[in-house]
Symmetry: C5
Subunit: 379 residues, 5 copies
């Protein structure tokens, strides 16, 4: 992927805050949607010119601006400068290789998350993940990784006193239920502030990790069955592939712990006390997700050990078959060889019962060998 290397090389030494998009390239335009609401009314709009959302900034209502696509650095820059966002923050938004983090800029909080969801996974077999190693970018950035089925993208949130700006890489997202809750007048979300909206967005992302973990858990189960019944080299590769998925997942989730802990402790004045109890819930979920990932890793390691033991066992039993065959037939062939010798003076050859006696003797040898192996529990 020389494109990325070139980009990084270009980036080295540039002034900080220079907006250089590092991530998936897209041909489509960024798409901006806006929600402006309070308890009584809600206003939903699709913004075509970024300047159209500026007026909403100073209203008393809560404003949610959602930007799909961070590849148009111009749009990000215009938006950022109007809302007074630090250039380094904008730079982090367009470089989708961040780890999850939170930064407190007094006037606003900047949160980076990884949204992980299923792409189009339905009709692919488990082993599809095998043989398609993650591309080189994935070593740097799990954000642009398409490991067969699971897709990760970076979501950046800017949480202001009465606005939330969210940036995503693609239009696909998990936020539709929240949009529905906003438009229906009954939800708690309408009554509370921007911090609660931010909570709702983060909660949705974290909740979805459980869905991902369940899918991976099913694969683990399938592999376990395969392992005990009929393991092949591809089983081993699939286990390794899942283990690597867990490594990436862990990397996306682990720093989230600090993010949610920061929010829960409520050190920023932007987070109200009533919201903190909900953030503690998110924190709990994060811990649970990490816990599940660790357990899965332990289980997958155990499965690899079982695989290797099974392999040794197989070699062992192949060896046994060979040894049994060789041990039985080598002496017999030798005896047959002896009586195939052409010495003139071999009295046994003239005996009338010589042939049957030799055959009997050979049978005796074969049987005693078999008994020996039975005693050794090889057969």
């Amino acid at each position: 992927m020389p494109r990325f290397i070139k980009k990084y090389k270009e980036k080295v030494g540039l002034p900080p805050g220079t907006l250089i998009h590092l991530g998936r390239d897209r041909s489509t335009e960024s798409r901006i949607t806006l929600f402006d609401y309070n308890e009584k009314e809600v206003h939903e709009a699709e913004i075509t010119k970024v300047e159209d959302c500026f007026p909403f900034r100073d209203t008393a209502t809560v404003t949610w601006i959602n930007v799909d696509g961070v590849h148009q650095t111009g749009v990000i820059e215009t938006l950022g400068s109007h809302f007074g966002i630090h250039p380094l923050v904008l730079s982090d938004i367009v470089n989708t290789r961040q780890r999850p983090k939170i930064e407190d800029y007094d006037d606003y909080l900047f949160v980076v998350l990884k949204m992980i969801y299923h792409g189009n996974q339905t009709d692919k077999p488990v082993n599809n993940t095998v043989g398609k190693p993650a591309d080189s970018i994935s070593h740097i950035n799990p954000g642009t990784r398409h490991n067969g089925e699971i897709t990760a993208e970076q979501v950046s949130l800017i949480i202001g006193p009465n606005y939330v700006i969210s940036f995503q890489e693609t239009p696909e997202d998990l936020f539709d239920p929240i949009r529905k809750r906003l438009t229906s007048s009954t939800g708690r979300v309408r009554k509370m502030g921007a911090d609660y909206l931010a909570y709702a967005l983060i909660d949705t992302i974290v909740d979805n990790y459980f869905v991902i973990l369940e899918t991976l858990g099913e694969k683990v189960e399938d592999l376990e069955d395969e392992l005990l019944k009929n393991s092949t080299e591809s089983t081993m590769l699939a286990i390794h592939s899942l283990k690597r998925d867990m490594i990436y997942l862990r990397r996306s989730v682990w720093p989230l712990r600090e993010v949610t802990a920061f929010l829960e402790r409520g050190e920023s004045k932007l987070i109200h006390k009533t919201t903190r109890i909900y953030l503690r819930d998110v924190y709990d979920h994060t811990i649970q997700v990490i816990d599940n990932i660790e357990t899965s890793r332990d289980i997958l390691s155990g499965m690899l050990d079982i695989y290797l033991s099974t392999l040794s066992n197989r070699t062992n039993s192949v060896m046994k078959v060979l040894t049994i065959i060789a041990t039985i037939f080598m002496p017999l062939t030798f005896i047959a060889g002896v009586y195939g010798m052409n010495f003139e003076n071999m009295p046994e050859l003239q005996w009338h019962w010589g042939y049957p006696l030799v055959m009997l003797f050979m049978t005796g040898i074969a049987v005693s060998m078999l008994l020996f192996f039975r005693k050794k529990k090889w057969i």
Copy 2:
């Protein structure tokens, strides 16, 4: 288990505090029992309508409400709203995939525990745990796991100033001794408050971990005997299965350390000073359980290493048998082959003692080979 996945998918994006039962489904109704007592008298009742237990809330006596079955979210909701329980707490109660935790809501403490006990284990052999890998849910939630013999269920406690509400998944529990101590007038439990009752419940659950560990310890012992005498692939699988049991057990117990430490430090005003000394005892027990689990894991790892060494040793000795046989009989067969050649001019064939001499020569080769192997300590 598509049912669960569907549920998690449904849950994503829902308003927080929405009660969605995640755990075992049951057809029976929830069952509510109530104890109301002070030093002088005790009142025991089975509640059929959840509203019947509301009056006990405001009495000066200590009230213990025990709810069997958390699948009827309506019951939980009614109870919760009357006692002023936060919706997130109720949501955690019905989602039985929590890790053990404690949350301080000032008016009440919310504690989640995992109760682990033996199901109907009597007549199953050790190896029964093999080949029945935990279902996919177990990767997410050890609470719904039936690994042959050990069953775990979630117990949630709400500890108020003068009441304790406990929620269990099934009617089976370990609390009968406490019920007896409550009805008999002599026990310390009758003289003390709701915090002591909560302690007694937690203590019972923790004490039972020792029983579980002893049973697992016995299995470890059996496997050790098997390992040294006659290990097979199923021994290895059984060790792995036990190791995984330990992983799950550890996961249930490890967070308990924080729970009991929180209670012992007595940061909540709901915990009296006299009770704290008992809670320290529970904390000690928790540490001891964790210690035992870690030791068992080390021992099981050691056993797997022994298994693999044994396997290598066996391959080695199979190889030796093969090599000995081949090394003895290949030269002999070759010699027999030589004298089986049909050259017209082979003077040895006409010698009178040719045949016995060759046989003697072959015996010499065989004997010297055997001596060589004896020197190499192969036989």
Copy 3:
């Protein structure tokens, strides 16, 4: 060991502080000895009725009560109630499955230790530890473990302002030198308080860990010799057995660090400043013991790796022997077979020099094979 399981099952749900002896059963009675001393005089007595030692409690002199045998819960209870010991402490004393710990009850300190010493080890070979895996109790409680040679028992200390009560499981102990120092009038121990006596007892126990480590170290050395000269499967099992000994030892010593650190910090008013400097020394020793255990574990792990490498090397060289033999004799046997064919028209058979030529040819093949193997450094 169903007895213990039964006991644990009985214990679950009982009121806290119920005295149930968990540990070795003994038929003999508990034996109580008493030392009462100050700088000027010393009084030594064997107590037959536990009440006899009550008067010493309120004297200004330092009193040391040593109880051998904790299976008679009645004795413990009487003693405990007179000295105002909390029921939970008494319960911990009779349940010999505690990990080392310290508890501060203001009026007295409660310390649990593991005393480890050699039983009757003289005439047993090293490999005796092999094949006799620790019994199931040992997984729960190293206290009742007899791994061939090393015995561990629980020692509980109650350190009051002017008395020390020590509880042991068996009459065998390491305290005789202290008894001598007490009866001889010159020692520092006579001039100082109960805290110094407690220090002396703890110091003796910790010092003895070095003796144990030296014995284990010698075994490690013997096994190393065996490993490099003539390792067998029993070598591997002996290494594993030692490794497990280290696990148990570590488990007994590791928590001691906290115990001695607590005492050294002198947070309790029962510990005088002058004694603290001695307690720092014990703390140092504890760290040293842990350090030695960790190093030994590393070395034993390395030895297991060497064993496995050696095993692979052996399989390799067995394979080589087989391959050399097969590679030399298979072609030769084939050639002999060819000239053993009964075709009527095989001109070579009629050649006068046919037989010697073939023999020469075969020798040539054998020699070139040997040269090939020498080049490959197989021989």
Copy 4:
């Protein structure tokens, strides 16, 4: 490399602060370049006599002195004594075996970094890193390591109130973009102080780690392909070589975390508040780099496991081929041997259909063996 040993031996016991160059020897002279700038003007100069840069020290403008080559201890000493640098600092500058660190000397900060960049890597194959183990110095100092492609050198920074002095080992560096930004009048760097210049230098070095990681990531990818398609011993060695690269990289980057954290916390008065936000960005990048290294190490470990499994699988399948051949042909050869015996009385030999019958029988044996192996899934 006896030279270095000699040097270290010489160094032992010398007074601290004695300047002894430990690192690559160079024949060329040190080269000093100087930038002196404020918002309005910039002065760039190549210094031939070290004393020429002394006047710039006391100007109000920001001065950046860059010294290429630390082997001329005289130059370093003169410069150091004029700027009041502690002898221990100078000693650390010329000894290029430091780990990254920061030291606060009140008047100035002393920072040590490792600059890692690509040498001339274009036309070398991946496996070139194999077989060329790092030289002995590299175990002590990654700074002088040339592992085929990646070169590391030590960069020392002295950050004063209005000057930055940077020391490098070689003239090659990554600072050209910063020089350009300094000479062009528009950049932020011209408006800010010496601390921002230091930030820019550190940022450039850290940014370049990403470039290195991308290159290594590509190699990992290539090796993964090789591993799954056609792994040989050299694949394994290349993985190990990359793993070791990661060890060295980690060692260079890990301590950087503390360096950047120290700067970010702004405990020194030399770091202005406005610069700290940029330093947090560097800190973030450092964490990201460490994260990537850890993930790569996990992946490489997984790849080694795959390699070993593949190897076992191969041995297994080689064994199977051998066993199949032996199991089929040994019985057949035996039967042929039987009918090659020279007994006079072997009635089968006279049968007219004897030969075809035996051939049929042998075919039957061969076929049933093949069926047996098919059933065992060996073929």
Copy 5:
């Protein structure tokens, strides 16, 4: 080594502070040298009677008393009692099995270090370390270990306000450069106090670790070459031996971190502010040494993995040779056997071209087998 065990057994239960020498026994007397100096003059003396150095204690000049040999407990005791050293300190000095530590006794600091240097190593090959496992004492005390080449001895320092007393086990030491710096009038050491002298001694010891590490690094390099070219079992044992050296070295250096950190923090009033900057340098070096040790351990572990992989690869290729030979010659021998059968009715035997045809057929089989193996990349 029953001597040591006896000693430890003797030690158990003795009053604390009893001086019992644990370490190497020596027949020679302890040797005491004394330096007394200030900026202007220096007095050097060899002390024969320990009392001779008492007068220097109360002079204003700095006094350095160096005691070679700690086996004469009487000397230590006399010296200690005059300087007011706590008996526990004296006991630690003569028991040379301490880990590095620092203790603050207000009036003086007590520091324990491990001095590691090369004995007479010149003409021994690398593999000499193999087969000579550390003696049993070494498991307890690296201080008395002679692993072929590296020798460790305990150095104890007592740092008073104007004196330093150093205790070594043997006369060999690394302090000659310091002696020279003391006698030459120019050095900084003459101008500064006892704390600086102590720093100089510690610095010398720490600096020497680098020399040791370089020597070990060279061995690692040699082993790497051996590993890639021609590894044998002795290579593996040498790697293990080096790994163990690293374990011991790490154990000697790791606690030093705390020692130097304590000194650097300057919590004792005996350490002046000007000296602290030098102590920070020692601290840095200690970290660097630990860093190097960890890296070396990682590299050695990697080398062992390479060794094992190589071994598996070799077994694999031996197997391949065997299988190729067997697969080619077994069918051929079988065919030869068929035509060696003595059936009367075997028409092929009478064919004129029978023999050449069969030979051709066999050649065909052999060639196709070879092609099959070439396709499988076995040859």
